[in-house]
Symmetry: C2
Subunit: 187 residues, 2 copies
Amino acid sequence: MGRSGRFSADLGTDGDEVCRTLAMSSELEALRQRFIERAGQITQSIGIGRVIGQSFAHIYFSPEPQTLDDLTQALQISKGSASMSVRQLEQWGAVRQVWIKGERKDHYEANDDFGRIIRRALLDLIGRRMETTDTLLEDSEAYIERGNGAPRDPERAFMERRIKKMRHFRDRAQHIWDSSVLRLLLK
Amino acid sequence: MGRSGRFSADLGTDGDEVCRTLAMSSELEALRQRFIERAGQITQSIGIGRVIGQSFAHIYFSPEPQTLDDLTQALQISKGSASMSVRQLEQWGAVRQVWIKGERKDHYEANDDFGRIIRRALLDLIGRRMETTDTLLEDSEAYIERGNGAPRDPERAFMERRIKKMRHFRDRAQHIWDSSVLRLLLK
DNA sequence: GAGTTCGTTCAATCCGTATTGAACATATTG
DNA sequence: CAATATGTTCAATACGGATTGAACGAACTC
């Protein structure tokens, strides 16, 4: 009988759920809760939603791979939330799906290489934003270029200076971003 | 009469306002608007509110120092918003107050040293967050330390590994933060 | 000192976005 | 194939934080 006993009908509703997380000492469990709560606060404060952080922390601090149902129960969130948060985490490589023989639900375990996770997330969140501002800067430079022989008014000269400063900063920021920050975080 | 003409009663409502910003070519003005809008989008997306970015961009792209009233009119925001955003910008050194002889309103001009501005803002926004997580990590380590001679259960050993990994990452992040990122941005 | 002009504050409100959950799609079982 | 179990989607909603604006205080004017 053993492992396959989970299919016996007499257990009723969700009798198999109790085995997913072994009982922890209450103090250890309290710390675990605090980590989860804190992770939620962090992700919320950087604007990617509370459940993302909570979900990751829950999986990270679970010895066994966790299912969506585990998340809905542990964090008191909806099925939809659990699904979306896990998919986002997967996209950043923060969790990976593991197959457990004989189980139908999807199980997820945490990646503990934080450097890679944050690198991917930052690339995703910030990387694309830099591009969108470029067109505006280029339009401005085109405008300046175009009117180079035109009569000089102070208004125009002022804008020219400001735009050049922006370009200068933008290029330096790009350089720092590309060469330093990401490389440092990775290894 | 000239400059003091602003006190003459016949001008009524806000006749003096028209002189604050010289008329720009409509194309230049359009670019200016796009910069302001874009700045608002950026600051909003990083979670510090839209008006902060808009206010800074407006001041940055104005040849003359700007007043709170200028902001409320140009950005269509309330007096309160203008006041709060400028105070925040001042705290980060993004704008500074300048005194204009014979004027009662406060005037602000933009700092164009973006490196310093961002450095200060990041220190303010992120710096303090790192501290708050520390206590939790320290509590966890204290717990581990305390029970060092106790009977080993796998649950506990697992948590111990995870907490150690967190600590390791946390220290490295702190190091990168302190030594690299801020220094790079500054000069 | 009464009357203005400005800047600040903070409770009330508004708005955007995170979250929900019912409906749907897909896979699995007997 | 019907029945069940699971994951996903997205329109509706709920919630939190941004924004407002009335009330206040401070500084100035006559």
